[in-house]
């Protein structure tokens, strides 16, 4: 018979402690050498990657499999789950497996020698490998560092082909990558987990991960939350309510969209470890739990009728509302939709915070449960809102300032009131088209917008012609611009081939790659068009000046555009424009015309 001490059955594990175990600061967050803890194994999300790798290995013709990516991407987990299968290709070939080259941050001598020996069978001049290929989980930084050490010690040459193949597949901007031999690279499978999408769409890793927070799920993070069955303080347990809400389909879509936005801004996938961490922080309401049984913290809040605490950590507030939120969750919180310049948001904020009963109904309608026992902390908050207890606790200033935003967030979280972002939609659509066909109308539209922004930011536009600066001309009162035809695919544009697929098509396919950036090329200068940069350019079209930090991104763009202008200026058949700003703006267009062998200049004041 279970012993109920205080408010819940202490013989049963705390569901909150299981959520805490998912934080990246928790000891279980790092998977070492493929060995999963029981808790990690029980919540592991199988996206079929291990199957796809094994199938490819079994089809033959490989010398090396590298499972690569950044920290927290799940390299060790992926290799661990392959090796845990009975009959996997490496049974009996332990010397062909390195599970943990990923874990060390620096290849010490022993590690360096170990890697050297490991790769030796596939160095230049060695006979072909029979049996399974070598397989290694190795982060990209370690790949660079290992070959860098070989260069320093003068042992690089035998490994040169291997380095070239790996650098090319991992898109490491090193000169040796240009030497990659297709024959060699075809025998290396690089599965770069940085390329694995983890957000965006109902089947995304993050969406499935959030589903695991359903407290009733025996195989979920809270393992069915048995203790909650006996708990008398559930109406004050924001963690359980947050987890219940978070695992609902529409709410998952909201948070997945939010995380996807961060991935698009960064231009790279979010690592599984950071997503687990963020999900746990969201479920915990960004609350910190000390030593001891974390459920006691809830019991204390209940005993004290601590409205402030419940308010702070409930899902509509939590990461959006508190300072010092850790990790990725902080970045998610900073994208609070209630601060967006959106008409609907402003209307909803204006409506809320006036009628307490209406506010309570709004909260319940958005996030309340169907039964009293479901999402009970939200029910408690709604009653506190209605009877004024909450208002007394958080103060009138907070009621007028925080309640409206929390209610708008609640509606947005529930999926009932999505906040439109046309720029994001435009960018996402272009990404989809680029992924499917390397182009499409949305990609064209992005290119047009970028062209306009470049012309506005770095040059002059006259009668449909764009003129860009030909060198650095900051602050000059008389400056020279060259005519640049902003024709996609010629002077600038999104690259015809996605470099990820171009350099590692097989690995990208196995990883389930989908682009998060549009690779721009401006006069042979690569510029990665992330959503963040596109947004800046889009705003530049509307005349907004970039901030100092944003200018740094413009610096590389500025260089690219100057190169474009400079290159164009070397074609003397193209017109130039002299911009004279000494007394207002005068634009003088000059063009060299070759008529029957006679060179003449045509000068025209166009403004």
């Amino acid at each position: 018979m279970s012993e109920v001490v205080g408010h819940f059955d202490r013989a049963k594990p705390s569901p909150i402690s299981m959520v805490i175990a998912m934080l990246s600061s928790a000891s279980e967050s790092v998977v070492v050498a493929g060995k999963l803890t029981d808790h990690q194994a029980s919540v592991a999300i199988d996206d079929g990657l291990a199957d796809r790798i094994v199938r490819r290995v079994e089809s033959g013709d490989l010398d090396l499999v590298v499972i690569s990516g950044s920290a927290g991407d799940g390299k060790s987990f992926t290799l661990g789950s392959i090796l845990a299968r009975a009959g996997n290709p490496w049974e009996g070939y332990a010397d062909r497996v390195i599970e943990d080259a990923t874990h060390s941050e620096r290849p010490e001598q022993a590690q360096h020698d170990r890697l050297k020996k490991f790769f030796e069978p596939i160095t230049v001049g060695r006979p072909p490998l029979s049996g399974p290929p070598l397989v290694i989980a190795m982060n990209t930084g370690m790949v660079i560092r290992f070959f860098d050490e070989l260069r320093v010690t003068g042992e690089f040459e035998p490994y040169r082909e291997l380095a070239a193949g790996l650098f090319a597949a991992l898109r490491i901007p090193d000169r040796v990558a240009r030497e990659a031999d297709p024959e060699v690279t075809s025998r290396i499978l690089v599965v770069n987990l940085d390329d694995r999408p983890t957000t965006g769409g109902p089947d995304s890793f993050f969406s499935r991960l959030l589903e695991m927070f359903d407290p009733s799920l025996d195989s979920g993070v809270m393992k069915g939350a048995e203790r909650c069955g006996s708990c008398t303080v559930r109406p004050w347990c924001w963690v359980r309510s947050n987890a219940e809400i978070l695992s609902a389909s529409d709410v998952r879509a909201t948070f997945d969209g939010l995380a996807n936005e961060v991935a698009l801004v960064r231009g790279r996938s979010l690592s599984p470890r950071s997503l687990w961490d963020a999900a746990a922080v969201i479920a915990l309401g960004a609350a910190r739990f000390g030593e001891g049984d974390p459920c006691d913290t809830i019991a204390e809040a209940a005993a004290r009728q601590d409205w402030q605490r419940l308010w702070d950590h409930a899902l509509p507030n939590g990461i959006f509302h508190l300072d010092e939120v850790p990790g990725l969750a902080s970045e998610l919180g900073h994208r609070d939709p209630t601060f967006r310049a959106d008409k609907h948001v402003h209307e909803e904020v204006a409506k809320a915070g006036i009628d307490a009963a209406q506010d309570a109904r709004t909260l319940l309608a958005a996030l309340g449960g169907r039964m009293n026992t479901e999402r009970s902390a939200i029910n408690t908050l709604a009653s506190g809102l209605q009877n004024g207890e909450l208002g007394k606790a958080i103060g009138p200033h907070s009621v007028s300032r925080e309640v409206p935003r929390a209610l708008v967030r609640a509606q947005w979280i529930s999926g009932a009131a999505p906040v439109a972002d046309p720029v994001m939609s435009m960018f996402e659509e272009a990404l989809e088209q680029y992924a499917a066909n390397d182009g499409g109308p949305a990609v064209d539209a992005i290119e047009d917008r970028v062209g306009d922004a470049l012309a506005r930011s770095f040059g002059e536009s006259i009668g449909g012609e764009h003129f860009f600066r030909t060198g650095r001309q900051d602050g000059r009162d008389v400056a020279v611009y060259a005519a640049v035809e902003l024709v996609a695919g010629r002077s600038y544009g999104v690259r015809l081939k996605d470099p990820v697929k171009e350099h590692n098509s097989e690995g990208a396919e196995i990883a389930g790659y989908r682009p998060l950036v549009l690779p721009l090329e401006i006069e042979d200068i690569d510029v990665t068009l992330t959503y963040g940069l596109f947004r800046l350019l889009d705003e530049a079209c509307d005349g907004r000046l970039p901030s100092a930090a944003e200018l740094e991104q413009f610096y590389s763009l500025g260089r690219a555009v100057t190169a474009l202008g400079s290159q164009a200026a070397q074609d003397q058949s193209k017109p130039i424009v002299i911009a004279d700003r000494r007394e207002g703006l005068r634009l003088i267009r000059i063009q060299l015309v070759d008529r029957r062998g006679s060179r003449r200049y045509r000068q025209q004041e166009v403004l």
């Binding site: 941050e105 090193d174 060198g471 690569d526 740094e552 003397q572 003088i588």
Partner: protein
């Protein structure tokens, strides 16, 4: 106090007899020839700096190099080209040549901060320009005349390109070829060169590395660099210069940008070289002082590689600020500026004079050949440490020279104070410093500021207010440094920082190390392949 009394004070302190007859100082019977009047201040340290340069626009570096690499011909003044441009532009159909000339004046002349058009100086955009036109200066009667160069003549390139035994002929040829090429011209470039040619009647110049080197040899600028003469002050820094210049020549840049990049690399190296020499020379003089006192040199270091040089990491800088960013007087970027500039660089000329007087003294006392004009105080410090008998002699002799120096400089009152200072090398250094105080900056700070202070155009220095200088690189300088250090390879961030340290540079603190990484990441020159700091890599971009 007369000289005899001053000598008496020194004799009682050191126990050595001192006497002075016209032109000859005797210490314990050993004769030291005293410099003749007006010859005391030997500002030469030719193994380190070929000439005692004065501050002038860094844009002139390449201009003079090209002139010295070409034939001597009668040149027009660039002011005439500037004035006559509208009429010299021969372009059928071009109705308003005035505005085109104005565009050219912005494009091909360097505008000093004074903003006065008479101070504008023609840029070495193409080799024909320096060969056909001299820069202009205004004489007192208001007439234009050819400007005299105050900073470096063309010999600076063979000097910097010294490979250990001779100037790197091939590198110099490559630089000259890059500036003489007739490709990559824009419409405006073409029109401008036509106009310049029409005015100068010049033929296409032939530039020759051999000519440049020959002129440098004729001026005895390279002799102190040969191994038999002791070699250059710092061969590793010259090797770094050659490596960087070769890297720059591989850049695919427009002509104007290439000229700018070559100038920037020369400026970066010369500026940091000045800091390096002034810091090392000051430390070597300190070592002589310590050797005379018989105390171990606590500040000793091994010379041999740039990473071991005292300058390595001493220039504590901030990442680029786009816009105003306050700087505290306690910030390492300000403090290290004061340490290097005020405490070391500013004293450079005085320390060179002091070191040359050390050499004169040491040669007389130790019977070694004199090395005046290329002083190496570290050698003297080692000699004094190894030979205790010479210490009081050197002490007395340098103290006596300090008195004589103050006397000849017209600072009689100073001579009295100097006699009471000890040990002698310190007394001599302080006497020189005090009498040269008002002139110190001309051949040190003024030079470096011209090379290193150019915000927005490749700078090492920034200034808040009128005089609060501190170390901060701008985007252009950072971009160049990444290209130079990475040389088309991807390297770990900490190795990039090691590379910066070879120039003397280091982010000012831990926070700035992270800020620099963030800046590089934002402009696409840094990738983080792991959350761990050690998996952060730097690479250049095309």
């Amino acid at each position: 106090m007369n000289i005899e009394d001053a000598f008496q004070v020194i004799s009682s302190r050191t126990g050595e007899s001192i006497s002075y007859e016209t032109g000859l100082l005797r210490v314990a019977g050993l004769a030291i020839e005293v410099p003749s009047p007006g010859k005391w201040d030997d500002l030469h340290a030719r193994h380190a700096l070929p000439y005692s340069a004065r501050g002038e626009a860094r844009e002139n570096l390449l201009y003079r190099i090209v002139q010295d690499a070409g034939e001597n011909r009668t040149r027009m003044l660039d002011a005439d080209l500037y004035a006559k441009l509208p009429s010299a532009i021969d372009a059928p159909g071009l109705l308003n040549t005035e505005v085109v000339a104005d565009a050219m004046r912005r494009e091909y002349w360097w505008a000093p901060s004074s903003g006065r058009s008479e101070d504008y100086q023609l840029l070495p955009f193409h080799a024909e320009l320096p060969i056909s036109f001299d820069h202009t200066s205004r004489s007192k009667d208001g007439k234009n005349k050819a400007a005299r160069y105050k900073m470096f003549e063309g010999y600076i390139l063979p000097f910097l390109a010294w490979d250990g035994t001779e100037p790197d002929h091939q590198l110099i040829e490559s630089i000259l070829a890059a500036i003489s090429r007739d490709d990559k011209f824009t419409l405006l470039d073409e029109l401008f060169l036509q106009a310049a040619r029409a005015l100068s009647d010049g033929e296409a110049p032939e530039l020759s590395a051999s000519e440049l080197i020959r002129r440098a040899q004729r001026g005895e600028m390279l002799a102190p660099l040969i191994p038999a003469a002791g070699g250059p002050f710092c061969q590793p820094s010259l090797d770094l210069f050659r490596r960087d210049m070769r890297t720059v020549l591989t850049f695919d840049l427009s002509r104007a940008e290439l000229v700018r990049a070559i100038t920037l690399v020369m400026s970066l190296h010369l500026a940091t070289y000045y800091y390096r020499f002034s810091l090392v020379l000051a430390k070597e003089i300190d070592a002589v002082v310590n050797a005379v006192l018989g105390v171990p040199d606590a500040d000793s270091y091994e010379c041999g590689s740039l990473s071991l040089c005292p300058l390595a990491g001493s220039i504590k800088f901030r990442s680029p600020s786009n816009g105003f960013r306050p700087v505290s007087t306690r910030s390492p970027c300000r403090q290290s500026y004061l340490d290097l500039d005020r405490d070391r660089l500013l004293a450079l000329s005085a320390n060179i004079v002091t070191a040359n007087l050390f050499e004169r003294t040491w040669a007389a006392l130790a019977g070694e050949p004199a090395s005046e004009g290329a002083p190496r105080p570290a050698r003297i410090a080692r000699g004094l440490s190894a030979n205790p008998i010479l210490r009081p002699l050197f002490d007395a002799a340098t103290a006596a020279l300090a008195v004589l120096y103050a006397q000849q400089a017209g600072a009689g009152a100073l001579a009295e104070r100097v006699a009471h200072r000890s040990p002698g090398p310190f007394a001599l250094q302080s006497a020189v410093l005090q009498s040269r105080r008002s002139r110190l900056k001309h051949t040190s700070r003024d030079v470096v500021n011209q090379l290193a202070y150019r915000p927005g155009e490749g700078t090492l220095l920034r200034r808040n207010g009128r005089s609060l200088y501190y170390f901060e690189v701008d985007d252009d300088m950072l971009f160049l440094l990444v290209k130079l250090v990475c040389a088309r390879r991807t390297i770990p961030y900490e190795r990039f920082l090691d590379g910066l340290a070879e120039y003397g540079l280091a982010p000012q603190d831990e926070e700035e190390i992270e800020a620099l990484a963030n800046t590089l990441e934002r402009v696409g020159m840094l990738d983080r392949y792991s959350d761990a700091g050690e998996s952060t890599f730097v690479h250049d971009v095309s």
